[in-house]
């Protein structure tokens, strides 16, 4: 921590909390056991504010703010769970479910999926939007892992963990808009890419998009909790 640590006092859901200057709303909320839903955020990676599930209301401003990338200020009054926010969160999840192919019952991550858990938690029972079901490829060229683009929600956790933690930057996003997909190297087969085979991307992937070939069926829990510890150990050195 730097020398100019300032303490900020703010209200989150009418609860008075204190924070260090420069902290994000999400960090402060989690420290105080106030829940804000997230999908693209992962402890140990930089935040990109892409999933828009952590949107919160700040009193005095009609706009919504992504809690993971908005810094706190003195006297801020934040609401994290209003009807307006709940509605937007459900619509965003609905957009995700209709975007590609998320049939949980036949997915390797059934029961261990952040998207599935989020839908259950937010009370999303069905999608009213037409399913797009684009025809996307499955790349099983890697000796240990497989990427199924049909299950990808483009959270870019794999891209970030590969670039920031492993330092290899094999993963990236190709294309734009609705046609975006994650790629390895310059869109080469994963098995022929410069992948270091560390498997971090598989562990941080929130859905069944990246999975381990050696696991069968839906027996595929993931363990992204290693990240904060890894960062801590690296900083301590």
């Amino acid at each position: 921590m730097s020398e100019n640590v300032g303490v900020k006092t703010l209200l989150i859901n009418d609860q008075e909390v204190s924070a260090r200057s420069g902290q994000t709303i999400l960090e402060v909320a989690r420290e105080n056991d106030i829940y804000i839903p997230t999908l693209c955020h992962l402890d140990g990676l930089t935040d990109v504010g892409a999933c828009r599930l952590c949107m919160v209301e700040i009193k005095g401003n009609n706009k919504l703010f992504a809690a993971c990338v908005t810094s706190v200020f003195e006297g801020m009054e934040v609401s994290t769970d209003t009807e307006r926010l709940r509605k937007h969160r459900r619509t965003i999840l609905e957009l995700l479910f209709a975007e590609r192919n998320h049939v949980c019952s036949v997915c390797v991550s059934n029961g261990h999926c952040d998207l599935q858990a989020m839908a259950q938690e937010q009370g999303l029972t069905h999608a009213r939007l037409p399913y797009r079901n684009p025809e996307l490829t499955v790349d099983a060229s890697h000796e240990r892992f497989t990427v199924d683009h049909n299950r990808c929600i483009l959270c870019t956790r794999c891209v970030r963990v590969c670039a920031e933690i492993e330092g290899a930057h094999v993963w990236d996003v190709m294309g734009r808009g609705i046609n975006s997909i994650v790629i390895t190297d310059l869109h080469e087969d994963w098995g022929k890419s410069s992948c270091t085979r560390c498997g971090k991307c598989v562990q941080v992937c929130p859905t069944g998009a990246l999975f381990d070939k050696s696991k069968i069926g839906s027996d595929h829990p993931k363990y992204p909790d290693f990240l904060p510890y890894l960062n801590q150990m690296r900083e301590a050195q």
């Binding site: 949107m55 939007l129 808009g177």
Partner: protein, 146 residues
């Protein structure tokens, strides 16, 4: 509607933006639903794909508007469209997504009757949309539906 000053505030008040100051003049031969679809198609292809509401929202809005233009749209589609407008506008990360629903919202505000004509009467008042999808809906015998 013709008596609007060309200023930032006046244009925002009627659901438009100044942009680069360009203006498009249309008459009754322009179908407002088709115009909305055109602008959403532009935003859909311009979306970078980073945030979900803009990436998937504009694509879904385009699908729904296409349905309405083809004559297969329903009132439920229209409701869904309005809901999507709110989410894309309020939760998108950047200005592209935040303003993408504007053409839909302002055409709905001033020309809602054209949307209703397309959906309920399967007719395009401007004669632009070919309503190809409506034929199948009409072919269904009423007895079967009842």
């Amino acid at each position: 509607m013709l008596d609007i000053g060309v200023s930032y505030d006046a244009l925002v008040a009627v659901g438009s933006i100044m942009g680069s100051g360009g203006m498009i003049v249309m008459d009754d031969t322009s179908c407002m639903v088709n115009v909305a679809r055109f602008f959403i198609e532009f935003c859909m292809t311009e979306s970078c794909g980073k945030c979900i509401p803009c990436r998937a929202g504009t694509a879904q809005m385009h699908t729904l508007l296409t349905r309405i233009c083809e004559g297969s749209g329903t009132m439920a589609d229209l409701e869904l469209l309005v809901e999507l407008c709110a989410t894309v506008k309020e939760t998108s990360l950047c200005g592209l997504g935040q303003t993408a629903p504007n053409p839909v919202l302002s055409t709905l505000r001033y020309f809602k009757n054209e949307y209703i004509e397309h959906i309920v009467h399967k007719r395009c008042p401007a004669g632009v949309c070919n309503m190809a999808g409506a034929a199948t809906a009409k072919d269904v015998p009423v007895e079967v539906l009842a």
